[in-house]
Each structure stands twice: as C-alpha cells, then as structure tokens.
Symmetry: C2
Subunit: 235 residues, 2 copies
C-alpha cells in the first residue's frame, strides 16, 4: 500500500486512484470546525463549493456556515471558526458549509472510494483507522486558493510520521517523505513553527489567534467525519 | 518582492504572475543536462513537449535528445543524461530536446516574463542573478508526471536558503518556507537524503548512479540558460 500527499485540490486529478482513502485537510480552519461540530453533536454537514448553493440552502431554512478569505459571510449563521460549532444550538442539527478551501477539496475528491476529514483534533483516531483500513491513502491538503500552505503540510506530515512510526506497510510517496522531514522540524512547537506561514499571518490579522491555538490541539475527539451520499456524517 | 515554489507544471496556472522570473527545475536530469550542454559549447536548445515535434525536427536533420520514463528514446541522438551533452560533438550545435518532465515545465511557463534553467550545476550563478534581477521569483519544480518530487524540492530549497541568507528583500511564500526547512535536513548530504526518493530509486534501477552524483554537484558552470524566441540560449 502507499501513502502520498497532494498539496492542492487543483492537483487532485493527478493523484486520484481507485480504492484510495482520501483525507481532506484544512486545519486552519474548515476541517477543525467540522470535527468540532460532530464532537458537539451535529448530525450532518452538507459541504457545498459555491456561495450560490449556500444561499439556496439558506433560503430553504437550513443552518448555513459560510466563510470566504478568513471571514464569515454576512447573512449566514456561522463562519468557519471551531468556536461557532460548539454548544446546544448545533446539537442534532444538519448544517450546510462552504469555505474558501476545505469544501473545495471535498468537492474535488467526492467520488473517491472513501473521503474522511482530518485535523489535529482527531489525529490519533484518524491514524488508527487509516492503519486498520488497509487501503492506499491520499492526504489531500486544501491549501490556500489552490496554493500549497504550510499548516496543512505540517498536519499531513504529522499523520505520515505517526503512521510510518507504527507500521511499515505503507510505501511513502515523495510528498509524504518531504512532509515527514518537515514535521520533524515542526513537532516541538507547531504554533511557533507556523509563525511565518501566510495563512497564520492572515488569521492573526483577523484576531483569530485563539482559533489557531485550538486547531493545533491534538485529540479533542475520536470522531472521524466521513462523506456519504453528499454529506458528512459520523463514521 | 516574493519568491515561491510551484511543485508541478500542472499547478503553474495557479502560481503564474506578471513580471515574474520562472526558474525551471528538473535536476534529475533535464535541467542538469541543459546546463551541461551549454557549458560544453552548445549554441541553442529547442525544448519541445511532444514526441511528434521531436520526430519532425529529427526528420529535418536536427540533432535531437529524447527521454521518456528515464530512458533514451530509440531513433534519437541523445537521452537526457548530462554525459550525453559533453564533448566536441555538441559544440556550436543546435539541439532539440524532449523529456518526461523538464520540457513540459518549460512549455507550461513559456509565456512568463523570463524563463531560466536551474540546477545544482549553476546554482551560485543563478542565485547571484536572481538577487540582482529584482523581480518576483517562481521556482517551478518539474516533478514526476506532474507529481511532487523530492529532488526538485531539495534544489528549490537550496536556492531559497542561499537567497534568503544573503538578502531579506524577498518575502517567502509557504512553499519556499517549507523547502527551506527541507533543505536544512538535506544539505549535509543531498545524495544520501534522496536515497528513498521515488525517482532516485527509478534511476538507480536504470544504473544511473553516476548521473545522480554528477547532477548533485554544485557550480560546474556559471552559465544560466534562458528561454528566448522558442529556444534556450546562454544568457
């Protein structure tokens, strides 16, 4: 079996393979928000790529989260901060979500064998499951507007490191080889390591340091969200 | 000014910018062979993306180098080993070249403000020139069939490291930030570092270890090949 990393949803057609588990990664903040929502009892998340789809759902009365360029979009119920998805108001609910990057990655990979959501918040559960699943793995980094970003790469490196330390049944693609080295440099203090990343600077400018800190916290949940019939649900 | 890295010719449309110098990188082996050819007196190299174009030039009587999947293509004059481009037989000649990855990257970026060829063989001359040029820089890694590869990433990291150690006038994109860290791990012994890279394994299987060693040697030439009017020439 092999594990590789793809650094942009735009590159997904180059990396896609049959019978491959795709892990969607957008740690700052979409996939962290999604993991948080399920931990707080959300029943279903319908990811949509465009604002038009999000508006159509809003008009039908759905709860809708919408973020573009790091900011919540006016007229919707939530942005993509994990803090928006905590509490009684989300419990048992179906939520529609569109974000700058993460939901685009889900859209790109939606026809894969299995599509799951990864973040530091569920990293151990995710790695356990990937090891037991016995399939090729593709770590699909959402990046920023189809460009490589550092935080998704660091998380993909953390997954590679964890999995390859525990089993040698995965052959590491060049992307994962590079990320494993990258993670060695980052793991002591991921928050500090990411200081100069473009998106962390973007979020700091938006006064979202608490979000960043939360999103980099490992193992807040054992839930692995999985894409089924057009929506994310608890596995 | 900014410097960033693009890990696949397929991603070039996402990264392209006005007034940007694009450095084409395919260290194992196309861009190393090109640097070697100019050092040995080649006058002009016409890069072509397809075998059809290469055949058409061959029929017109041109010297043609053609490589696919690491091997020279039968019926042509050279493959893409740097050793094929040394000696009197290339001096003063115009050579047509098509390779699996490198010439595809040139094709992708051919309309950029300036397109130059980078390899360990001309790294110091290249960095000097990039610093003096005072333009945005995009390090375009050719990769392997549009996937990320480790050796081009390590070279792009070496360029980032050299430039950012000498001047702070470039803002580092996330790709370059990651590569700078990667190069820190690789620089002690790039050959050993690349041991597990997919393409190095591919070349070792083809018995091309001497090629790899040569391609990783810094500063064999001061020539920077540049793309002008459909061909590469000495700057």
């Amino acid at each position: 079996m092999k594990i590789d990393a793809c650094f942009s949803p735009y590159l997904y057609p180059i990396y896609q393979g049959d019978d491959t588990v795709v892990v969607i990664i957008d740690v700052l903040r979409a996939t962290s928000a999604i993991c948080t929502a399920f931990e707080h009892g959300v029943e279903k998340i319908i990811p949509v790529a465009t604002m038009e789809e999000a508006k159509a759902y809003k008009e039908k009365g759905f709860l809708v989260g919408a973020e573009r360029n790091g900011l919540p979009v006016e007229g919707f119920d939530f942005g993509n901060s994990p803090y928006h998805y905590m509490g009684e108001h989300v419990k048992g609910k179906t939520i529609v979500l569109t974000t700058t990057n993460g939901t685009q990655a889900i859209e790109a990979a939606k026809d894969a064998y299995k599509v799951v959501i990864g973040s530091f918040l569920n990293i151990s559960a995710l790695c356990d499951w990937l090891i037991n699943e016995n399939k090729d793995v593709l770590l699909l980094c959402s990046g920023w507007k189809n460009k490589f970003n550092l935080e998704d790469a660091v998380f993909a490196g953390a997954v590679t490191d964890e999995i390859s330390n525990r089993t040698d049944k995965f052959n590491l693609g060049d992307g994962c080889l590079a990320l494993k080295y990258l993670y060695k440099m980052a793991k002591e203090n991921p928050n500090k390591f990411l200081t100069h990343s473009s998106h962390k600077e973007r979020l700091a400018a938006l006064n979202l340091k608490a979000d960043v800190k939360y999103c980099l916290t490992p193992d807040k949940t054992k839930i692995i969200p999985i894409y089924k019939d057009g929506a994310l649900v608890k596995m």
